[in-house]
Amino acid sequence: MTLHMEKGGISRSARRSLWKLSYLQRKCIFSVLSVGRLPIHIAFIMDGNRRYGEQRNLKEGAGHKAGYLALMLMVIYCCELGIKYITAYAFSIDNFKRGPDKVQYIMDLMLEKIELELSKKDSLFSRYGVKVHFSGNMELLSDPIKDAAKRLMVATANNSNTLLTVCFAYTSRNEILHAIQETCQEKLAQIQLQESISEGRISMCNPGQGNDVLKLADIEKHMYMAIAPDPDIIIRTSGENRLSNFLLWQSANSCLISFSQLWPGISCWHLVWAVLNFQRNHYYLEKKKKKQI
């Protein structure tokens, strides 16, 4: 693993030593964190890539490249900490509103990075046992990206340490809409089957009937995010305090944390802070639940 370092003469061996040192430091901190309850699922709204690039006068798209590296580092940190589920909001359906060039750049970057990971024998995902899953309305994507995403999912299917869900062409409302459509299709098919079995019975459309057949679990199983439990923590960078149509259904009881840092600048310390906050809240919530009983 090579770190992304500034140009200026740090040798490969020095970089390796620095990485080992920081790894030992993290191991020490994470072992302290592990004394308390660790979150099972952390979700990230990776906001601020464009601003990162603009602030540093980088060329178009460089901010997103930096953002990708930040995501890979965060995946490593989460794996070292023992987080079982990671979800990252990579591209919203709303982002299609951006200029076609900007959208195309992100699509090209996604394709490039997927192909890069697939080409490596010892990729980050295999080394850390990360299974990759794409959540979103994949029909909105071009065939090359759909195909590459499927290949990455297949290639990492047997990894079992951590599940990384990349939300791409995703919004929560679209996810809920899709789940409702699937649920209605399913229920309609069941009813039609029942009616065909009980021949001649006329089904009346009375308001009470809908309630008997449709429950929360029926909708939940059709969610794109049914593959993971609800997130314990949702972290958003760049100082914004909103969910932006991300995991609305699943965020009902999530601890929401906002950092002013732009996404490419996120560090292990932000993760440590988020986990500490979660542990403090979790302890309070457990106390509250016990009092209610």
Partner: protein, 312 residues
């Protein structure tokens, strides 16, 4: 937090807000309508406060016509940048009571007073809709005595404030799984909603026995029924159809622009999940009974600074 009785400026009472402001740091107002003598402000003097409000409102009834140009906003608030719909998770009532060695019921009653204050401010400042999370679906698991107290508090509050709602042109809507509420309360809600349905100045939406999951499930049930009756195909279902079936269809502005949660918790706790997709979130440290004008102003000023991009 108790309001200070020290004034740096003469108290300003406008035609829309005929009460004294007793903050040590007093917001400067854009327009001065009227000066009257101030009354010491205390959370315990609700009777005196009510008497003053009634007296002044009788004198200045013609000013309550809801015209935007009559708004008197604290300095810094721009009328064009105000949220149209504010949602509030009124958290911290029980903790407030415990900190004062008071029974839990006192905390809830203090919470009601705080709500009245915020409703007044919304009316004064031109916010069109306020949604409050009064009782969650999960709250049914609280001790029975507490739940019964809350139900009676809702009933009392609605009965006592009916006159104010009618007089101030406030529309009341109650959303949630209302079939779980006591029948007397259900009837009261139906009557109050009917009586205020044409009021257009301001809408107060009270979420009782509500959760965001419940809202989406009931919308899905209604859509499933329509599909079953052949009125729509499942593939015809879109975001707009879902919105029309959510319980927030009772308002012209179903999506909150700003969500405020008090008591320092950083969660949405299953409130209006679909509707909060693009809402700006503001987490206030104070407990709900202590959340007053200063804190509300802070939340609105923070909202005005936010850059809302909607993914663009």
């Amino acid at each position: 937090m108790h309001f200070s009785l020290q004034f740096s400026l003469p108290p300003v009472i406008t035609a829309l807000s005929p009460r004294s402001k007793s903050f040590s740091h007093q917001p400067h107002h854009h327009r001065i309508k009227k000066l009257t003598s101030h009354v010491p402000k205390s959370p315990l003097c609700s009777t005196t406060e009510c008497a003053l409000i009634h007296q002044c409102k009788e004198e200045e009834e013609e000013a309550f016509d809801g015209r935007v140009e009559d708004q008197t906003l604290p300095l810094g608030l721009r009328p064009e940048a105000l949220p149209r719909h504010v949602a509030v998770i009124m958290d911290g009532n029980r903790r407030w009571a415990r900190l004062r060695d008071l029974p839990v019921g006192s905390g809830y009653e203090a919470g009601v007073r705080s709500l009245r204050k915020i409703v007044e401010l919304c009316c004064e400042w031109g916010i069109k809709v306020l949604s409050v999370f009064a009782f969650s679906s999960d709250n049914w698991f609280r001790p029975k005595v507490e739940v019964e107290f809350l139900m009676s508090l809702f009933e009392r509050g609605m009965q006592e404030d009916t006159g104010i709602f009618l007089r101030e042109n406030i529309r009341i809507s109650v959303i949630g799984d209302l079939a779980r509420l006591p029948e007397a309360l259900q009837e009261l809600i139906i009557n109050l909603e009917e009586a205020t349905k044409n009021n257009a100045r301001f809408q107060l939406i009270v979420a009782v026995s509500y959760s965001g999951h419940y809202d989406v499930v009931q919308a899905c049930q209604r859509l499933a029924l329509k599909a079953k009756c052949g009125l729509i195909e499942p593939s015809d279902i879109n975001e707009s159809l879902i919105e029309q079936e959510l319980v927030t269809k009772c308002t012209e502005f179903p999506y909150p622009d700003l969500l405020i949660r008090t008591s320092g918790e950083f969660r949405v706790s299953n409130f209006m999940l679909w509707q909060l997709a693009y809402a700006e979130l503001f987490f206030a440290q104070s407990l709900w009974p202590d959340f007053g004008e200063a804190e509300f102003l802070k939340a609105l000023l923070a909202f005005q600074k936010r850059q809302r991009r909607y993914g663009g």
